[in-house]
């Protein structure tokens, strides 16, 4: 096993072997390996297939910018499948199962590869130009085929068993990236009084020091210095280090989202451990030390397995102890690939050639190559890579004034290392809308104007080399500390053997042009080639945003980390336009793809959202209630007895309530205590009704409009004393109503001496309704007279009920004699049980919201939100009587006189009785003139409520109908699929129109 391991190299734990599988084959690696490093150590380069052409692909990087080596992962025996995971960042653990993607039947033999032969048909944007004929083929054939071939991995098919966490964290200084710049910043800030958080996406700190480790730092070997630095930071009380933690987005006011992976590297996951945690870190100052990403070169077949970034090869060697091949040719425009070549050569890899497009290279480099017996071809370029599933050689030729010379020579190799220079990582900085400035000399974008309190350090500022990075990190920390009013005396880091390089930036390599030349890839995953970008420009896509969207370059899962700059250069050249004038596309969060789960955090299942329950809810649950959800509350809808369905239960609940007595948990109604000397005046302004004359101890139905004149809420309101009202609102409206009241009070009428307090949850509210309601309640009330004379309809009393301090309203939402008893919430259930027991003497039944709805509809009482929908005025709803005629003003009054609010054709609330008394109309059914049922029909309105009425022994309905108030006695049609129902228009009160039962 592991034939490509290099003894004595790497930071992995070779004492600990780990096995995992890839496409069913078992492999062994070491603790600390990624899937990619372990597979490479086993000689496996072919790890995936590209999106469009299904070309064979291997890893091209060793980090989170990887576009090619995407795999599915799952945990043995437990599923937890996940697609599109980067083999280059997924750490191996015992029992990890990995699979390749986007292939059929196998990775090695993939039918989809046919696309690669037909590539010319699949030029950029081809689908916009075809698949249009015949028209019907799109839905039936073309699109389904396109969809089936698209996508990379498969979506998970099972519910995710894992949990996710989140946390807010406040800190003085957040440092993103723990390379030399980030480490220097952290080591400096550590010495101040500031709280510091250092995050890095890798499992260990070090950044480029993990692979560029030939230097000596303060006279210690690089690895040794790093270990000490890490230990120092770990021991510092003011520093918190998060590894496997990716800063995914830089949001407003220095809030950075950091997604931390907690368990995906563990063989055994501790109980209760979430899989990932989303930190929302709010920092006073931020240092972005994200480093730079090495840029690929664009040449023929540059996507073949075995073609890697030079720094990736260096990483596999120095961090993982893996050589990526036996014989690695190097193609570069930058010095850094030379160093990579030297490292590999020193580890025993044959370097047949370094091809550098530049005409010159430093003496040091050339000497280094010569010492190692490496052939150097300056002023040369690579024409193409040979081999299909693995590179087998390259052809090179001279760069001749930018065009290809005839003298092509072939060089055999199994690996190609490339470097097109480095791109500073400014993704997070760009999230803040900070500006980027084009640096002509180094041909990179650098940070310009800032919009947040942040500092960029290291390679992110285009500073190559460890010494510069250390110095810059330290400097950034001092700057940040001074902004925090802090200071520190930093220790310098002196670098010996620093291998700073320079280079030039190319677009497509000169050898790659021409019609028949093999394709040169810019965006590996999405198979965007240089010629696609040129084609897009020729098709008129002159904005880089158009180029992106037309070719999909930069839209793959690496979000252009490798491709954007090359794409931009090629487009700029085709446009004959300077690079900065063309500009970059927008960087958007997240920095690397991030699971939905980590955004959702704890919000899963029961914790997804609050479920509010009343104090009496537990009784309902024990008594087999069926619940419904109303805003955040859950309410008992009905209480079926064994064998009953909803209709039967509701019928019984209504019947028994009207015949004797029913009991209902009304605790969810919103309640607001309105208190102060100006309470009545305030009520006058907010509600349509007049309140000044309402005597303490009395209550009244209140109607509330929005300023636009439409009904917003209603409820019964009691005057407890001269300066105190007990307001009730609808269940769903409670918060809204209080907000609206506060808004008017604070912003328009601050002079009023009145205050509002939500008392919804202070009270449990039990409604007793029915001719025997008084009999049930009376035994529990000793300090008040409940008789009809002493306690008439629409009166209220504060008294003791069963010893609890209560507010009893004599009101009714059913049309029967009714009491609503409010007691302190914690006594709700106790009182409920007492009343229930007492009620048994009278055949009391418990009813739910459904029976309540039926009974109030029988009485023509509206439900806001059912009879109204935000477009209904008091007049429409037949509630003109609730408007205080003499009041000069109340919220919404002025709007009621706008022209369209007075039209006769407005939809108005009416009653409907179907001709067939057994037909219960469907709520929401539409209403037309008699006989006017042809489609499209002129609709007059709709059925808002419709029930079987046990009291009337027939169906009833309420409806909003155009000009409804003038239709009394007329008929309308309700066309339903298959049958049209006819109904007669009536008043809205179906039951006990005289209201006699209220006064029993």
């Amino acid at each position: 096993m592991n034939n490509w391991r290099v003894k004595g190299k790497g930071r992995i734990n070779t004492n600990k072997t780990v096995s995992f599988t890839f496409d069913g084959t078992a492999y062994k690696g070491y603790e600390g390996d990624t899937v990619a490093s372990a597979l490479l150590a086993n000689g496996v380069h072919l790890m995936g297939r590209s999106f469009k052409y299904h070309r064979p692909r291997g890893p091209v990087t060793a980090g989170s910018e990887e576009p090619n080596a995407l795999i599915g992962t799952s945990r043995a025996g437990q599923g937890q499948f996940e697609p599109n995971t980067k083999a280059t960042t997924q750490e191996i653990y015992q029992g990890l199962i990995t699979t390749s993607q986007n292939k059929w039947p196998s990775l090695n033999f993939d039918i989809g590869e046919i696309n690669d032969r037909l590539y010319r048909l699949f030029a950029a944007g081809f689908y916009y130009k075809t698949f249009m004929w015949p028209k019907s083929f799109w839905d039936k054939l073309y699109e389904p085929v396109i969809r089936a071939t698209a996508g990379l991995g498969k979506a998970p098919s099972h519910d995710d068993p894992d949990t996710y966490a989140s946390r807010y964290l406040h800190t003085d200084l957040l440092i993103v990236g723990a390379g030399p710049a980030g480490l220097a910043a952290a080591l400096t800030a550590m010495k101040s009084g500031a709280d510091v958080v250092l995050v890095d996406e890798n499992p260990e700190l070090g950044g480029s020091l993990l692979f560029e480790n030939a230097t000596t730092l303060n006279d210690q070997a690089c690895d040794e210095w790093l270990a000490k630095a890490v230990a120092e930071l770990a021991a510092a009380p003011n520093v918190r280090v998060l590894t496997r933690a990716t800063a995914i987005g830089y949001y407003h006011e220095n809030m950075v989202g950091v997604a931390e992976k907690l368990t995906d590297h563990l063989t055994r996951v501790p109980d209760g451990a979430p899989r990932e945690r989303m930190w929302r870190i709010r920092a006073k100052e931020v240092i972005l030390a994200q480093g730079a990403i090495e840029r690929p070169l664009v040449f023929g077949n540059n996507d073949r397995p075995g073609v890697l970034m030079a720094s990736a090869a260096q990483t596999y060697l120095n961090r993982f102890g893996v050589k990526v091949g036996d014989c690695a040719a190097v193609v570069t425009t930058h010095d850094s690939a030379w160093f990579a070549a030297f490292d590999l050569a020193d580890a025993g890899v044959k370097i047949p050639v370094i091809v550098d497009l530049r005409q010159d290279a430093s003496q040091d480099l050339q000497r280094g190559a010569a010492e190692r017996g490496i052939a150097v071809r300056l002023g040369h370029t690579v024409a193409t890579v040979k081999g299909r599933k693995r590179a087998s050689g390259i052809t090179i030729c001279e760069v001749n004034a930018g065009s290809q010379s005839d003298a092509v020579s072939s060089i055999a190799c199994d690996t190609v290392l490339m470097s097109g220079g480095w791109t500073p990582s400014l993704h997070l900085f760009s999230h803040t809308k900070g500006s980027l400035i084009w640096d002509e000399e180094n041909e990179v974008f650098l940070p310009g104007e800032k919009t947040e309190r942040c500092h960029i350090a290291g390679a992110g500022r285009g500073l190559w080399g460890q010494q510069q990075a250390f110095d810059d990190g330290k400097h950034a920390a001092l700057e940040a500390l001074s902004a925090l009013g802090q200071s520190a005396t930093p220790n310098a880091v002196n670098v010996r053997g620093d291998r700073t390089g320079t280079g030039v930036v190319m677009e497509e390599l000169p050898g790659a042009g021409g019609g028949s030349a093999p394709r040169a890839f810019v965006d590996f995953q999405n198979d965007v080639c240089a010629k696609d970008i040129r084609l897009a420009v020729r098709e008129g896509m002159r904005s880089i945003e158009h180029v992106k969207r037309f070719t999909t370059t930069g839209m793959a899962t690496d979000q252009g980390k490798l491709s954007n700059m090359n794409g931009l250069k090629i487009a700029a050249k085709q446009l004959e336009c300077p690079v900065p004038a063309v500009g970059l596309t927008t960087f958007r969060p997240p920095y690397t793809p991030t699971t939905f789960g980590s955004f959702a955090g704890y919000h899963k299942g029961e914790l997804f959202e609050v479920t509010r329950k009343t104090n009496i809810d537990s009784w309902a649950e024990e008594n087999a209630a069926v619940f419904e959800s109303v805003s955040l509350w859950r309410r008992a809808r009905y209480f079926p007895k064994v064998g009953e369905d909803m209709d039967a239960a509701v019928l019984r609940e209504c019947r028994q309530t009207r015949a004797s007595v029913g009991m209902f948990d009304a605790s969810t109604l919103g309640k607001i205590e309105v208190v102060g000397p100006d309470a009545a005046e305030f009520m006058n302004r907010i509600y349509t009704n007049p309140w000044s004359k309402l005597a303490p101890g009395r209550c009244r139905y209140g109607l509330m409009l929005g300023e636009d004149g439409f009904i917003r809420d209603d409820g019964v309101i009691g005057r407890i004393s001269q300066d105190r009202f007990h307001v009730t609102t609808t269940t769903g409206g409670a918060a809204r109503v209080l907000t609206m009241m506060e808004h008017f009070l604070q912003t328009e009428w601050p002079e009023l001496d009145v205050w509002l307090t939500s008392t919804t949850e202070q009270w449990s509210t039990i409604a007793l309704n029915g001719p025997n309601a008084r009999k049930v309640l009376e035994p529990f009330v000793t300090d008040a007279d409940l008789s009809a004379e002493a306690f008439p309809h629409m009166a209220l009393k504060e008294c003791l009920v069963a010893g609890f301090e209560a507010r009893v309203f004599r009101v009714s939402f059913t049309g029967e004699l009714g009491f609503e008893v409010n007691v302190p919430a914690e006594h709700g259930r106790a009182l409920w049980e007492l009343l229930h027991e007492e009620g048994q003497k009278h055949g009391l039944c418990v009813y739910g919201t459904e029976a309540m709805h039926v009974m109030r509809a029988e009485k023509g009482y509206i439900i806001v939100g059912q009879e109204t929908d935000g477009t209904v005025t008091p007049a429409d709803a037949g509630l003109t009587w609730a408007i205080g005629k003499k009041k000069p003003d109340f919220v919404g009054k002025r709007s009621l006189s706008r022209p369209d609010m007075l039209q006769a054709d407005r939809k108005q609330l009416i009653g409907l009785l179907t001709e067939d008394p057994n037909t219960v109309l469907e709520e929401g059914a539409q209403i037309v003139e008699v006989g006017d049922t042809a489609i499209p029909a002129k609709m007059l309105g709709h059925v808002t409520s419709s029930y079987w009425s046990s009291a009337l022994n027939r169906s009833i309905a309420l409806a909003l109908v155009e000009g409804g108030h003038h239709r009394d006695g007329g008929a309308v049609d309700i066309p339903m699929p298959g049958k049209t129902h006819r109904a007669n228009v009536t008043g809205t009160v179906f039951y006990d129109p005289e209201g006699e039962r209220l006064n029993m």
């Binding site: 407003h252 006011e253 809030m255 506060e742 604070q746 002025r894």
Partner: protein
Amino acid sequence: MLLIRCPYCAETLPELEFEYSGEAHIARPQNPSDEPDDQWKDYLFIRSNVRGEHAEQWRHTHGCGRYFNALRNTVSDKFITTYPMGETRPDINCAGEEKNEQLAR
């Protein structure tokens, strides 16, 4: 998530504690019944919707509960200042030519 300074609490706190409540300084007419339809419409619906410095109401709902006013730049989302309800809009001058610049995105 924005950070907002509540002028009553005198603390700068996360947006999650606050509710936005629309444009500021739109006073309810003294006698709505006297308003002509078009002016009542202005009060109800017309908003300046400024690209740039916007005077707006917020409520520290999950804090002191108070409504207050703020000046905020709607392009950068940055608060310029916040001030108690009832105070007039502070005269903080922003750079001239803002409109053209605003239009240019």
